[in-house]
């Protein structure tokens, strides 16, 4: 009998996936199954936290846009 494991499938760019793998390497509490370089299955209850952590990580690389001078 095959097994069915509840989880959330994540499809993303390889770069994002490598960040997720890196986040998981701390406690190994996120990833259920690493499928391929763009796909993995994670625990359902970790998705929100994962999104949050990913956002934090990406913020480091994001340059805020220059506020336009309001000329009116």
């Amino acid at each position: 009998m095959p097994r069915a494991i509840r989880g959330v499938l994540i499809q993303c760019e390889p770069a994002i996936k490598s960040i997720i793998v890196h986040l998981d390497s701390v406690n190994n509490d996120i990833i259920i199954e690493d499928l391929d370089e763009q796909t993995l299955v994670v625990k359902e209850n970790m998705v929100q936290l994962l999104k949050q952590k990913l956002e934090d990580r990406l913020k480091e690389t994001y340059r805020p846009e220059e506020p336009l001078a309001d000329s009116d």
């Binding site: 095959p2 494991i5 499938l9 499809q11 999104k51 990406l58």
Partner: protein, 501 residues
């Protein structure tokens, strides 16, 4: 299918088979499900099989699904949808017999009764024989339902902490407030003026059309009844009652004494939602438009954009007209709607909104960075951050665009008609969409990972079946893994496959 129907479908799919058998005992429910929840092809199948005495060979269905329309996959998805609602039975595959399909006995009986008008009395309501107060006409009921529903919307929106526009609003009953809290459309926040704050789900709720809103609230109500078993409420009976209400006629009085006691006990809650009007000291009740359109696809009460208009409208203004888009030819454009149409958006992402309504300003503040406020207008800008914030609230780019489109200033609309260009600057529209995409770096799908197959054949058969019924999300043939969004039917398939061997 509309959003409201989608939510209902998800709720129904979770119910056990016994619940369906009980639901289909009522012809009104069978008819409502048939009318509202089925696709065109599903209806064709049900109509074709309804009066067929014997099971029908599955392969003979193929003539209804020509290859150019998707063929077999389309057929299998339609059948899967019908099976998930316990309308269709499919015999298990075996080597010596062809697969056969038939309508389940309970649904067949229910729908036949609905079509033939038989069965027990009162499944479609019993009109009251008592004299009816002539002042209760359709316009009155519409006004009543809208007031009740707007009270609920106001409660959700006022939790934004905006002053003004709340005078004269009594607010919904405590039970409705609890429901909104339990459903996490609003949450307790001690730091706000009213003590509660709107949640992400609440924003999405506000932007829905009202039919979807009503279903959202009703499903919360059903779930609440499930959780408190001692309340004497039975969610299947409640659902059945809602389907019955949806089959009633607007403007007609119905007899409450024809209802069972448990259903009579539901009336006060339905009054709180504005689904029915229940005059004091009578044995009559009137379904309102909110109830009678529950399962019809044709007349959504109002669109996304006018939902806000309605929420921002002064409740004391313009009696007699409804903001409903389905109000028929009698519905005249009311003042509040035109007053809200004053948003100018420039190609440099600047926004000028001619409005004085604190609520509309609050709505704009959800996705704009507002800079200045004048007596009759506010100005601001769409920025990457403001759009991201809105998306964080659960508002989609399309919702923002359709809101801006619906509320565009007349001058923009006129200009667009003269020059033949779109109303909103395409650069801005594209950018809003791009900002949303940027936020969706990963696509998530909840479901089940299937692994550890015994044989390649087992993997091949199950993954093919998953694809046929439309639940396959991802697969890898090499590693023999696949991901499906649902597992119930796959499990049944595996079992029947095991038996067939």
């Amino acid at each position: 299918m509309s959003l409201g129907g989608q939510q209902l479908l998800e709720y129904l799919e979770k119910l056990p088979g016994t619940a369906f058998r009980r639901l289909y005992q009522s012809p009104a429910t069978a008819l409502a499900i048939f009318r509202r929840m089925l696709s065109y092809h599903a209806k064709v199948i049900v109509r074709g099989l309804l009066y067929m005495p014997d099971p029908f060979p599955l392969t003979s269905l193929d003539i209804w699904f020509p290859p150019e329309g998707g063929g077999k996959i389309h057929r299998d998805r339609t059948i899967a949808a019908l099976r998930s609602l316990h309308i269709l039975q499919v015999s298990p595959p075996s080597k010596d017999r062809t697969q056969e399909i038939q309508i389940t006995a309970s649904f067949k009986k229910g729908l036949q009764l609905a079509f033939e008008g038989g069965g027990e009395d009162g499944s479609f309501g019993v009109p009251s024989s008592l004299p009816v107060d002539p002042s209760i006409d359709i316009a009155y009921l519409d006004r009543y339902a809208r007031k009740k529903w707007d009270d609920i919307l106001h409660y959700v929106v006022n939790s934004l902490g905006v002053h003004g526009s709340s005078e004269g609003v009594s607010g919904p009953k405590a039970s409705v407030k609890e429901l909104l809290l339990a459903g996490r459309l609003v949450e307790r926040r001690p730091d706000t003026r009213t003590g509660i704050g709107i949640t992400q789900a609440g924003f999405t709720f506000l932007l829905q059309e009202s039919n979807a809103q009503v279903w959202t609230l009703l499903l919360l109500w059903l779930e609440a009844a499930d959780h408190t078993a001692d309340s004497g409420m039975d969610s299947i009976d409640m659902l059945s009652f809602l389907f019955m209400l949806s089959s009633l006629e607007l403007g007609t009085a119905y007899d409450t004494s024809a209802l069972t006691e448990t259903r009579r006990n539901m009336l006060p809650s339905l009054v709180d939602f504005g689904l029915i009007y229940f005059p004091r000291d009578t044995r009559q009740f009137f379904p309102t438009r909110l109830a009678t359109t529950l399962t019809s696809t044709a007349s959504a009460l109002r669109t996304v954009s006018s939902a806000f208009t309605a929420a921002t409208a002064n409740p004391s203004g313009e009696p007699g007209t409804t903001t409903s888009t389905s109000g028929g030819p009698a519905a005249t454009p009311d003042k509040t709607q035109t007053a809200a149409k004053g948003i100018i958006i420039e190609t440099n992402y600047r926004i000028y909104a001619y409005t004085t309504s604190p609520l509309q300003i609050a709505v704009l503040a959800l996705f704009c960075q507002l800079n200045m406020r004048f007596p009759n207008m506010v100005s601001g800008r769409l920025t990457r951050d403001s759009i991201r914030q809105a998306i964080g609230f659960g508002i989609t780019a399309d919702q923002i665009i359709s809101y801006l489109h619906a509320h565009a200033h007349q001058q923009m609309v006129r200009e667009a008609t003269v020059t033949g260009k779109p109303v909103l600057p395409p650069t801005v529209v594209d950018q809003i969409r791009l900002w949303q995409l940027e936020n969706e770096r990963m696509q998530t799908t909840a479901g089940f990972l299937f692994k550890d197959f015994e044989s390649t054949e087992e993997y091949a058969a199950l993954s093919r079946y998953a694809e046929e019924i439309g639940v396959l999300v991802w697969k890898n043939d090499k590693r023999q893994l696949f991901f499906a969004s649902k597992h119930e039917q796959l499990r049944d398939y595996l079992k029947s496959r095991k038996k067939g061997e």
